[in-house]
Amino acid sequence: MKHGQMQVGFNWIFILIAGAVILLFFAGIVIKQKDVSEKTLSIDVVTTLDSIFTAAQVSDKTTNIIPLGGLSKETLQFDCEDGVSEFSLLDQSFRETNSIDPLFAQAELQGNQLLLLSLPYNFPYKIQNFLMLSTPSVLHIIVGKTNQEFLEEFLNQTKGFNVKYLADGDLEQIDVGANNHVRIIDLDGGNIVSGTSTPQSLSSLSDHQVTAVSFSGKTVTHYNRKGNTWNNNGDTPLLSIPGTRDAAKYGAIFAGNSRVYWCNMEKTLTRINHLNLIYDSKVDQMISYYDQKGEFICKSIVEDVKSTMDQYNSYVSICKPGTCEGLTDRAEGIRELNTKLRTQSCSVQLY
Amino acid sequence: MKRAQMEMIGLVIIVILITLGLLFITIFAVSGDGGRKIFTQKGIASSTMSALMKTTIEDCDEPLLSLEKDLLDECAQNYEFIKSSSGYSCDGKNSCDYLNDKINELLEDTLASRGYKYQFESELIELGSKETKTIIGPITNKGGCPFGRGNREPSGPFYLSAGGRQVRSQLFICG
């Protein structure tokens, strides 16, 4: 009996040890694979989104709605610093960077759909497309009465986005509902003032979920809430010319803050710098062409274009918040001269 | 002993079966689709049609005519009596004959040389009638793209109004 009792005992000890080792081995594999899977998912999501953004960006004036499905619980992070934007999944290390294409979005976006709006930025000729991102859980509230033309265009262009217009400008009427972010858009420039109280209706949201943007002349001011007051987080110039669809204004509306907005505008300024090399060469070719044809009126207009473009190039290279005076005028000047080429029936125009 | 030997054989058979199973799973899981077209044929069909229709022709008596707006338009308007009409003369041919040859040449340069199968046709549609008449083509390569052939991507129809009639031109590329 004793012999048998010992044998049974040893058997059980042996089973326990062997079982524990095997279990730990497989548990280790599972945990490692889970980690690898999460990283792979993050990479897949971010690279797929990058492709979607590239495709959306090349299509002018389009709105795309991307259902996020299983990703609706994930938070997308967007940032831009020193002319390089990056986006990633929250708390994941893999990020996609882009130093070329302007992408305007809040710092964090979460929702069941991703809303993309692509608009061409003309200054005065097409520079590149701006891509604006949002989700249905970001509520955009527009206040202001003076700029009715822009208001109608904006409401029309952003069908599908969560946008409301408060005609009487009473911000206490805002119903946050299930939204996780409220962005107030002040088209007049007097409704949001730094240091004044933020609406009580937004008290259910935390500070980083309440932001505003205000337009006053050619200046854009972004605000965030600090405690219960509006905090000015920076003034930036609005680089746009009248008579064209104001993609720069759209960018300011969707950008999370002034740093992100200006960072993306810097990308555009860099692009203008490079694009102007092409247009400078085209101007020289046009002068030769009109000289050859003996069309001296057209040649004279193109020579004016050349000198305006030289000034335009200088202003582009020094443009920073506070030093962009004159840039918009030069862009407008080029547009007027190009129109003059058309009205004078000059066969070759700049754009 | 005999029983133990049988158990050992059983174990070995199980190992062999599992190994073979994993081998087959790995082979099928890893083998992917070999050739993959970089771009949709539809995109190439659209771009080719767009470029083709805009082309400025330099081979005619009249200077610098547009393939679609001038030559195709004249071919469509005067199709029934093109051989005797005194319209455009390009390389000694009337507009319809010239277009047949020229479009064939241009498509060969850009599509046939890349191995694409394609089919181009311009049809004349009388207003108020459903009947169509092919005035250019069908210009094909490698058997063309008859209806029902797999992966048949159209460029999208290009319409031209020609003196009370309509011309519909389309290019199909098939894989």
Partner: protein, 160 residues
């Protein structure tokens, strides 16, 4: 004792066989992963080629303009093409086009070609060409100073 020894041997043998099965499983799994990774690398390469071609076709540095209206699709302005040969040498365009060679070829009326951009990847193992037919707008060369449209194609070769 003999019976116990046989039993122990039997148990050890079973565990040994089990471990062999696990090792075989791991070997096959890693082979599968390797194949899947290669597939993914190829997919990324194809995607990159597609993106580079898309960016090129819509690039404001090359596309034909119509004043304030939308650009003409599948059309390159020849004046811009001539300028781009020099301009695209800047490192800025590496961030857009990466390791690639971009050639524009005119097939009608005369055969001509321009290499707009070239950056070869050191020790590249594959080159994938993509072709797109397009119009080449020659401003002022048409009838009464209008534009003449030449016929040609763009070839984008991505190095992988």
């Amino acid at each position: 004792m003999k019976k116990a020894q046989i039993r122990m041997t039997e148990t050890v043998a079973v565990i040994f066989i089990f471990l062999i099965l696990v090792v075989i499983g791991i070997v096959f799994f890693s082979k599968y992963q390797e194949g899947a990774t290669q597939e993914k690398v190829h997919e990324q390469f194809v995607k990159q080629a597609q993106e580079i071609t898309t960016k090129l076709l819509y690039s404001p540095e090359l596309t034909c303009t119509r004043g304030e209206a939308e650009s003409e699709s599948f059309c390159f302005d020849l004046m811009k093409v001539h300028a781009a040969q020099e301009a695209f040498k800047d490192d800025y365009y590496f961030d857009i086009f990466s390791f690639a060679r971009v050639t524009v070829n005119q097939t009608y009326p005369e055969k001509k070609g321009w290499i707009l951009y070239e950056r070869k990847k050191p020790e590249y193992t594959k080159v994938t060409p993509t072709y797109f037919t397009l119009s080449l707008k020659d401003l002022g060369a048409g009838h009464k100073g209008e534009a003449a449209y030449r016929y040609g194609f763009v070839k984008v070769e991505v190095f992988g």
